[in-house]
Symmetry: C2
Subunit: 354 residues, 2 copies
Amino acid sequence: MEKKLIFTNDVAGAVDEAVARMRPSGVFVLVDANTKSSVLPGLLAGSEAVAGAKVIEMGAGEEAKTLATLAGVWKELGDAGANRSSLLINLGGGVVTDTGGFAAATFKRGMRFVNVPTTLLSAVDASVGGKTGINFNGLKNEVGVFAGADLVVVSTVFFRTLGRGELLNGYAEMLKHALLTSGAMTERLLCRDVGSFGPDELLALVRESVGVKERYVAADPGDCGLRHALNLGHTFAHAFEELGMWRRSPVSHGRAVAQGLVAALVLSHMEAGFPSGLLHKVATYVRDNYGAFGFDCEDYPRLLGYMERDKKNTARGAVSFTLLRAPGEPEVGVRVEECEITAALDIHRDLLGI
Amino acid sequence: MEKKLIFTNDVAGAVDEAVARMRPSGVFVLVDANTKSSVLPGLLAGSEAVAGAKVIEMGAGEEAKTLATLAGVWKELGDAGANRSSLLINLGGGVVTDTGGFAAATFKRGMRFVNVPTTLLSAVDASVGGKTGINFNGLKNEVGVFAGADLVVVSTVFFRTLGRGELLNGYAEMLKHALLTSGAMTERLLCRDVGSFGPDELLALVRESVGVKERYVAADPGDCGLRHALNLGHTFAHAFEELGMWRRSPVSHGRAVAQGLVAALVLSHMEAGFPSGLLHKVATYVRDNYGAFGFDCEDYPRLLGYMERDKKNTARGAVSFTLLRAPGEPEVGVRVEECEITAALDIHRDLLGI
């Protein structure tokens, strides 16, 4: 959905080239406290466009993805004289690219924006695919629009400073893309530790992973059917995240996705014949690397409630899931009754030792 | 930009047919206090879909077109279980259709919506063309998206209860559409009083007028060039409206547009040779029917500031206008220097006796 996607480790050069081509009336850079200190200085030094830009800072972390933050970005853009010919560069993880993309897509009914993902998770997921939005009313991405970035600059140079937990966040989405492609691609990821890659090897893997997402998005930009395959594991993951928010002890998206993939593969085994061997391998990898998000059967009604309210759910008194018949063979919109979901959650807890 | 446009005086029938075709998972109706009391009861009695819908009420008037109202609509939709397969019916004037359209286009990244304009102004302008949005940071429609309604049901049955001022509001946009078409179409409107039409005659005129807008929108849905012709008179009109808001004495959109057309035709005469005979006829009609929006030369710097910040303005230290070389011959993006704008405002004030 984005107009252009570049994989490079010369980010400053890619940004300057894009700005020279797009000729915006003004350039704005959205950062959070983390990217302001860890990423912005390098780009200020290396990129003429960034050096001349007005910097807008928003709060860091999922809790900052709010209506108040969105309104703050709109206000700073307006007060600084941004117009429809201006350009916003979103420099950060998914929270920055989601919020900044929504702000740009709605400011004066739409200005252009460039995403520069600075985490593995945003590189392989949030920054590509044209989904923007904020959390609202206690729900993730409750409001937003489909709006593709004019350019996404994907690089691994920013990942050097990421902790293991941050890398695992992105790796969970890469596992999902692998599961949506083939058993071989999945096994290749399961036999490696996330900290064992050099930057060039990782850039090649990221490119392959983004390619999977791009193929599904291109086939269904409006998220009406086939693209739901990318939702694999996410119906559970969103519910785990919302349970975490409700407990005031948020769980990271990637960790929630890793848990969600295990639950979705359990359900895929039960409902669609997904091979139990690979399910167990994935569960072991997740347990060993991600640990477990703890919950018990008293949490089931709340989790089911979240799943039924999920924006992709159209079933009544049931939940529709993306399941896998086998690696690379997704089935979207599979309606599953509550009793089967709770049975899957029981097995999920067994597998992860919860 | 909307997918379908129906002109009918059987609104309930048109709505029920649309709902039967679209099969939404739930129907929601957005009203303000005015349409709740004057329009909703009739539809509740006549339309099965409306009778079964959840009603959401927002504040009435331009002052209600705020972020807080938008958030309130999102919240009510979410709390009532709306999802992406649901349908929002916006029942009201431009404030309701603009706010409701923006809410629907962004709720869970987009649910369907139907506009049922209840004022002449919204019938010929706001409800068609796919522009949605709210006021923000002191500016009109500062944030929003382009999103076409799935259906617009245009009718004149609701206009019976409108006062003369309300009818004049819409008539100003009809004058604009006529000026963008031909001298003959313009003269036909100038020789009539807005209160002199029967409902069927008016429906035919509205249909003709909406047709003008549709042709310009179809040629340029993203508002990149040709569609700017529809901005005729609006650069001035928005500045008059913002001056009114700043004075805490708001001027209605239609009255501002009538004044704005006169100012734009003055500028068109000065810069593009628009015939002075028709300029004087339009000015006389506006003065006799709309009165004048008062301002003096001390207000010029503020008005110029508003015009330069207008979201369609891309000129620096100047303002770009849509002007007419002659009726039906628009020229978009004409850059005009401040001294010429103030000269036009002087003549405008003379013509309207301000």
